[in-house]
């Protein structure tokens, strides 16, 4: 009895130290799936506030995407709207603040029959694929058409290719769940136009959150004291106290900021303590840090102080 108490006292440090949190895993943005270092408050790519959950708007009417004009260096981008889009140096839809562009330079029309451009009497002219337009004469533009406005060179990107389609968000439970797979995602950082990750079949976030492919939990950590069960997903589930840094947040002061990784792969569950202060126990046996340990359904897992039971969903 006495022995037990002392061993408890040495194991459980009352004030959680922060060292363990320094090497936390990346946090994937729930909106654009960019991995972010846990220190970021806002997603480095799309700016989403990582400590919050996105509101799904996929059932709301969306503006029709009718293509866009992009400058040749990619720095300027103008989404077009159906109907008339004005081009000019001042108060235009396609606003080009450049001395070679007239105040009112031209117009782009997006119609059922296609996209057309017209020069409305500019000083330095408008060219489509090197051919100068006569004033007030419409010319059709196609995907990839090079449009020169004064000295500004732009490209027309047709709708099918212009679609920015990351608009549906993941299942937004209280605990953000998402398998982390950094290696597959980092390539996308270079390509802002392509938002949805294609590499992972497990979590393709399509139009609707109702679709079953979205982050379906493969198991749960059921707490002993019986509050809400924590969902586990295929892949790596990072567990810890710190919101925004973990896919599974355990808000108990004895749980480290980054405590453990629970990996689910082909139905096999393994847990690794990532150097937590108060340790991880499986069925009462402490784990060595950074050593993976396979789990079975019904195993009792202690994360610092709180105790959970692993529940495996039927596939």
């Amino acid at each position: 009895m006495n022995e037990n108490m002392t061993s408890d006292a040495t194991q459980v440090v009352s004030a959680p130290a922060f060292e363990a949190t320094q090497y936390a895993a990346n946090v994937d943005c729930p909106v654009c799936h960019t991995p972010n270092p846990p220190s970021e408050t806002y997603c480095m790519d799309c700016g989403f506030m990582l400590s919050s959950a996105p509101v799904d708007v996929s059932d709301m009417p969306k503006p029709e995407s009718v293509g866009k004009l992009v400058s040749s260096d990619g720095a300027l981008e103008f989404p077009l709207k159906r109907g008339e889009n004005t081009i000019g140096r001042e108060a235009a839809d396609v606003l080009l603040v450049n001395s070679t562009v007239s105040r009112k330079h031209g117009r782009v029309f997006v119609e059922d029959a296609g996209a057309f451009i017209e020069d409305i009497g500019s000083a330095n002219g408008t060219f489509v694929d090197g051919v100068k337009l006569e004033p007030n004469q419409r010319a059709e533009i196609k995907d990839g058409s090079e449009i020169t406005i004064g000295s500004v060179v732009m490209k027309y990107i047709a709708p099918e290719l212009a679609e920015p389609e990351p608009i549906a968000c993941e299942a937004t439970q209280e605990i953000e769940v998402e398998p982390a797979d950094d290696s597959a995602k980092t390539e996308e950082l270079e390509e802002p136009a392509e938002a949805a990750p294609e590499a992972e079949a497990a979590e393709e976030p399509e139009q609707s959150i109702a679709e079953e492919s979205v982050a379906q939990p493969v198991g749960h950590l059921v707490p002993k004291d019986g509050v809400a069960a924590l969902a586990l997903c295929e892949g790596v589930n990072t567990i810890g106290r710190r919101e925004g840094a973990n896919t599974v947040v355990v808000s108990d002061p004895y749980c480290s900021g980054r405590h453990a990784d629970l990996t689910v792969q082909d139905g096999v569950f393994t847990i690794t303590d990532v150097g937590s202060t108060n340790g991880t126990l499986v069925n009462g046996a402490p784990l060595e840090a950074h050593a993976a340990r396979e789990l079975q359904a019904g195993d009792e897992i202690t994360l610092g102080r709180p105790v959970f039971t692993l529940e495996v969903s039927n596939a």
Binding site: F18, T21, Q22, N26, V31, C32, T34, P35, N36, P37, P38, S39, E40, T41, Y42, C43, M44, D45, C46, G47, F48, M49, S51, S52, A53, P54, V55, D56, V57, S58, M60, K62, P63, D73, G74, A75, L76, F78, P79, K81, E90, L95, V97, P164, P166, I167, A168, C169, D182, S183, T186, L189, P192, A195, R242, E243, G244, A245, S251, G257
Partner: protein
Amino acid sequence: MNDSTQMIFPDDPNKTRVGGFDPNATQMAGGMPGGEGNRTMMAGSQQAITVECLVENSYAMATENSRQHLVARITASGTGMGVRMPVNLCLILDHSGSMEGPPLDYMKSACGYVVDLLEPNDVLSIVAFSDTAQVLMPARRVVNKALIKEHIMRLEVGNTTNLFDALALGASQVASAPAQGYVNRALLFTDGEPTAGNKDFASIVGQVVEQKSRGITFTALGFGPEYNEELLASIAKRSGGNYYYITRPELIPEIFRRELETLMMIVARNVKLRVHMSRWVQVRQIYGKLPAFGHRSAEVTLSDMERGETQSAVIELGLEPRPGGKYRIATVEVSYDDSVTGRPETISADAIVEFTTDPSQIASGVNQMVLREVEIAEASKSLERTVMGMRTQQVSSADAVRELERTRMLLLDQGKTMQAQDIQKAIDDIHGGAAPEKTLMGTIANMDREKNR
């Protein structure tokens, strides 16, 4: 980590507000990408300038393309710095034929005035130009004031105006003296259009921009009715310096003194503002500036800042639809050389907008202060149009006066009395049969600046 190539914006003021956030988070984020910037975020450290980022609306529609203005307001601290920085000044003086008589005499006495105000720590050089440019006095410490004045008095009138060579020579004089810890400035005084050497405006302004990248700022003083106000204003604007219009010769010494006083109060030089956009955000324009666009960024040069001064940049953004929630749509980053510490510094602020599907929230989220700044920026644009219109005689005097009167009321309304007075002066000019363009150019150049001291 794979993501190390991404930009990190460490000193996010919002960071510390997020509940339950790990205190280590702010430490880990430290260190500026690219390296040399000094972050002085510790409590109690003195930052010469601060930046604040205001959004036109704290909400935006999540389901529509929308536009929104941002105001980046940069303020130089008004107190405390104590000792002034030494200046490294080059006077670039026009002594072309048209300067003969009182103008040349007043210019000489103005220079004598400058010499009197400088101290042995300061460095002065003098370049004089007419047909060619010559170094009247190479850069040296202001020790023997009598001797320097003697140099100035020897100046006689020449013929034409070789502005291009003069700017190059003046810049080389500033560059020849040690830059560290000095306020570098070339002060151009001219009364005419360039008539000799390279007369191409684009080349002249291009040269100024190039010198600016080496840390040399030009202030342009235009005297009399003949000089080209557009050229001088853009020399000043593009290099972060000041533009003055001097109407009468007896005012020359006063304006020289005013500029020198300004120089002695400078706390931040080489001020640059960079807007980093998040995904689904585009910068459409930065009012009154020609931004250099990069990958999801836009950069502009701002004026050197004196103590107590505020300047704002009004930025128009295009926002694309996205899932609802709070986003950082942009980060504005201001880099500058701190005149007090002599080190490059970087500060930043975030623009946070919540994307919603509820139109009533949009109506509630408007920031009137931003709308007022936008109005001022628009007024500045319309002034520019008026100036152009008068020059090409497409705008009649009566129309111009009406337009100016409207702008004046707007400025008064918003407490910009200094600029409103300038407009009144321009209106008086028109009534008196004089051309108001030179005055107005100065108003336009100073529209985004405010001095509170």
